[in-house]
Symmetry: C2
Subunit: 270 residues, 2 copies
Amino acid sequence: MILINGAATDSVPATDRGLAYGDGVFRTILVQGARARRWRHHYRKLASDCSALAIPCPAETLLAEELAATAREHGDCVVKIIITRGSGRRGYAPPHSPAVTRIVIAGPRPDYPRDFEDSGVKMHLCATRLASQPRLAGIKHLNRLENVLARSEWHDDSVPEGLMLDQDGNAVSGTMTNLFVVDRGGLTTPDLSRCGVAGLTRERVMDAATTRGVACRVERIPLARLLEADEVFLVNSVIGVWPVKECFGRTWEPGPSAARVRKWLDEAGD
Amino acid sequence: MILINGAATDSVPATDRGLAYGDGVFRTILVQGARARRWRHHYRKLASDCSALAIPCPAETLLAEELAATAREHGDCVVKIIITRGSGRRGYAPPHSPAVTRIVIAGPRPDYPRDFEDSGVKMHLCATRLASQPRLAGIKHLNRLENVLARSEWHDDSVPEGLMLDQDGNAVSGTMTNLFVVDRGGLTTPDLSRCGVAGLTRERVMDAATTRGVACRVERIPLARLLEADEVFLVNSVIGVWPVKECFGRTWEPGPSAARVRKWLDEAGD
């Protein structure tokens, strides 16, 4: 089911700036047992991303209601919320008082093999690299052609994710996941001040580590360092935590960290 | 009037990848006297941009018919054609056989003061800089948040354009125009191998120069060089040629080059 500005319809105006320019932001939210997992946290991120682009963010209660309405007929599912700057006069100049578009789409939860969580995943090394754009780094905006190009590089369904590097060869993220490496006796996640999406689960892992007195560094991680790490794992709100078992010829045996981090996230609740 | 896949409607599916990811390309075409100006050239660019993203480009005759149909009720107007990779399964992976979406939108020609052409324009120096992304450079794709952010930096309607630099401080383009400088006895346009849109009129100016035995260099142009140039002018398919009369404190008197280049373009016809 799809709600657009609260109305059950499946289409948006062709003049919407989300389509014309990718002028908007989005979130992907897991719904389990009729509850939107980590809703508060998701909404905070959405509001923060809207603010970074000067798009007025719709009220939390309104979006929560629309999310619940779209999810109702699905049971456990994934709901995508897109907020765009709406339609407006022709050209790049944003309208002074934008009438934002709210798009809420419920769909089935992707059906990944249980094995990805338990034994880990193979990760393609993407040739498509992320551009350095400090002004947009971290934001989950609608300009995602780099991710599309990266994800189009391989067709083997048994490989669910690809590693994206920045232009200098540092590991930044998966195409749809954030990344952690375990080495030097600690946890490190890539610095996202120049590119990448600062995902909600990445933040939750960092918070959980801090709560437990475990150091979690934020650094540039050259590919060579990632390939030498004791463990590598991927996170997002839908998949949870996937250990990486293979990337660019390097293989890893299952280590303790992914499972431990998964337990942290479960304990943190909503 | 709007045609979407040939049907008169004003909306697109909310699941379209053009909206979700900016996964598509576009062109803006001037229609005068019921003729789409430089249609052949526009279509060639559209096909080339589609090809760069592995999006199948609709047939030329089909798009030409739809363009004519939307323009018919407008007289002189501007038609925007958007081609997206259509809808598909969830996630970044492009569908194997995409059913592309064709969006053809006719609208009024922007009403710029005649003075912009004759006396030149003031150009804002944008703080938003273009990221270096060789894989997407040159393509007129739908990921245009940088242009939106740059264009939102000023609100003075008497300033119609802003200068965008790359991360190293080289002049790349306007937010909606390509750029030429006249100095060292010749014409130079910025190298667009790392960012920017390689517009049709830029190419036509380069071709016209070559035809006339006039050198037109393609180089990186540091801001300092632009500010010291004898003349600077901006081009695109809708505005034609605008001399720049002011940027970042530097002012220019009208020089002979913009008018000469405008004459070249007129002589070249379609």
